[in-house]
């Protein structure tokens, strides 16, 4: 396993374009996080301090940071599709197989890299959230700090699933740009199907079904936190309540998609003549 990871890391880190993108995908969420945590003085007119809103309180901070950091996953998605696209355009995939890498090992080396980067991203976000939380949070008892750290698990699963989907599209179309276009098409397609089901029956059923779709199920892992922030501000408004927790069945759905995409990527490569 380490051999395969090592192999892929060499391919990625010696490539300037992917090195920059990896760097950006890690640094950008941090910059945003740190910028938002400091007090910004708008030329003496007013000061903006997001910390005052209570969004950096434990345990809500886990929810907020993972939700926003997940929006930056697109940068690493480019790295994932290009690491497949480049193998095809340089024909190095063929050479790798001739040199004695099995098709299974080839897919696994990509997958391990995805897991590795997702893990690093999760750990970084965990550490950063913890530090900012310790600084701002009004509550610092261990039981409160570590409540809702399941958002971190959800974040990790979400990243792995999303990048595995990119891997699958990369294997399917061989070209990075087209693979990204496919992602976009899938996104639209999910909404078209949602619309179709709504038209045929009703919105509630349609939304329930949509929660099983790949992109939507990944999104559902970490629900949007805005409503929750509102809830904390106006605790008496009952119509704002919604279920924002991470549910085990949501994780199961996403893990099933991940397994399916990984398997399909392998099947595509296995049946393809290079």
């Amino acid at each position: 396993m380490l051999r395969l990871l090592n192999l892929e890391l060499q391919k990625l880190l010696l490539n300037r374009a992917s090195k920059v993108l990896i760097f950006v995908s890690f640094i950008l969420p941090f910059t945003v996080l740190i910028l938002s945590s400091i007090k910004i003085n708008f030329f003496g007119f007013f000061t903006l301090e997001l910390g005052e809103l209570g969004i950096f309180n434990f345990p809500i901070i886990w929810h907020i940071t993972t939700f926003f950091a997940a929006q930056f996953k697109f940068f690493f998605a480019i790295v994932v599709v290009s690491m497949i696209g480049n193998e095809y355009s340089n024909k190095t995939i063929k050479q790798n197989l001739i040199d004695g890498l099995s098709k299974k090992e080839f897919i696994l080396s990509k997958f391990y890299t995805i897991v590795f980067f997702s893990l690093v991203a999760t750990i970084l976000i965990a550490v950063a959230s913890f530090c900012i939380g310790m600084y701002y949070s009004s509550y610092t008892e261990a039981s409160i700090i570590f409540r809702e750290t399941d958002f971190l698990v959800a974040y990790f699963v979400k990243l792995v699933a999303f990048f595995t989907l990119c891997l699958f599209f990369g294997m399917l179309v061989k070209r990075s740009a087209f693979a990204l276009a496919f992602l976009f098409i899938l996104y639209i397609l999910e909404y078209i199907v949602l619309g179709l089901i709504t038209w045929q029956s009703n919105y509630e059923l349609a939304e329930k079904i949509q929660n099983f779709f790949p992109l939507k199920s990944m999104y559902k892992l970490i629900d949007q936190p805005f409503q929750r922030v509102m809830m904390t501000k106006f605790p008496d408004k009952m119509d704002l309540t919604y279920n924002y927790a991470v549910h085990w069945y949501e994780i199961v759905i996403v893990l099933c998609w991940t397994a399916l995409f990984l398997f399909l990527s392998y099947r595509i490569l296995k049946n393809r003549d290079l």
Partner: protein, 298 residues
Amino acid sequence: MESILTINNLTKKFGYLTAVKDLSFTIKKGNVYGILGPNGSGKSTTLGIVLNVVNKTQGDFKWFDGTVSTHDALKKVGAIIERPNFYPYMTASQNLKLVCKIKGVDYSKIEEKLAVVGLEDRKDHKFNTYSLGMKQRLAIASALLNDPEILILDEPTNGLDPQGIHQIRKIIQDIAAKGTTILLASHLLDEVEKVCSHVVVLRKGEKLYSGRVDEMISSHGFFELKAEKQEDLIKLLESNTTFKNIKVENGLITAFLNAPMDATDFNKLMFEKGIVLSHLVQRKESLEEQFLQLTDNN
């Protein structure tokens, strides 16, 4: 003799097209094999199948004694197919390091093999700055990294200039001299003739011949002759049953043999008959002539 690769009834179909048809042959250790065939005769497809990049339709093949999986067997094989494929943004030594990681070879081999192909000075230059000849030499270095049991080369001199062709051919001959088994696919016949001891001839995916180069067609060769008394010579040759046909071109008589005959015996015979030869050469058909004869007959 130990066999390295055995192919049994291998067939590959691309849709309607049958690229390889019921092909069987065996590669034995220590020989230099050539796979001959015109473009599109299934050479590269056959190599692709045994190298794990093309899926077979029918039949089977086994590497060595058949106990190891194909991708593990390939770690003991060195292969170059068509164009050299490397990561353009990596230097030569970084590219070779990656191959070492795949094959499980020690990094110390990198310097050694780069020296074999004469690329030591350029090892820290990026692959995309290389000329085609250098790329091809790097590919050979990469294929040699694991000191392979067999070296597979598919059109290694394609697209190279005469110097490049000469360099590659020299490297191949050196490797062959060390006793490494080589499988060389090419449509350049003199290339195969210069280095190979055995050939497999393919046409439209079918095997026409496999065996030693010199036994490819049942021929005893021919004499090229010149003499003062040309008419007498021709008359004499025509009356002799050892010769099947006689050709005269620009004053040069070519007499094809029916049965083996030594040049010394022939010369003696002529002298006894009172004919003095001014030119006598005994030759066998070149591989090209043999190949054309073989592919036309079938």
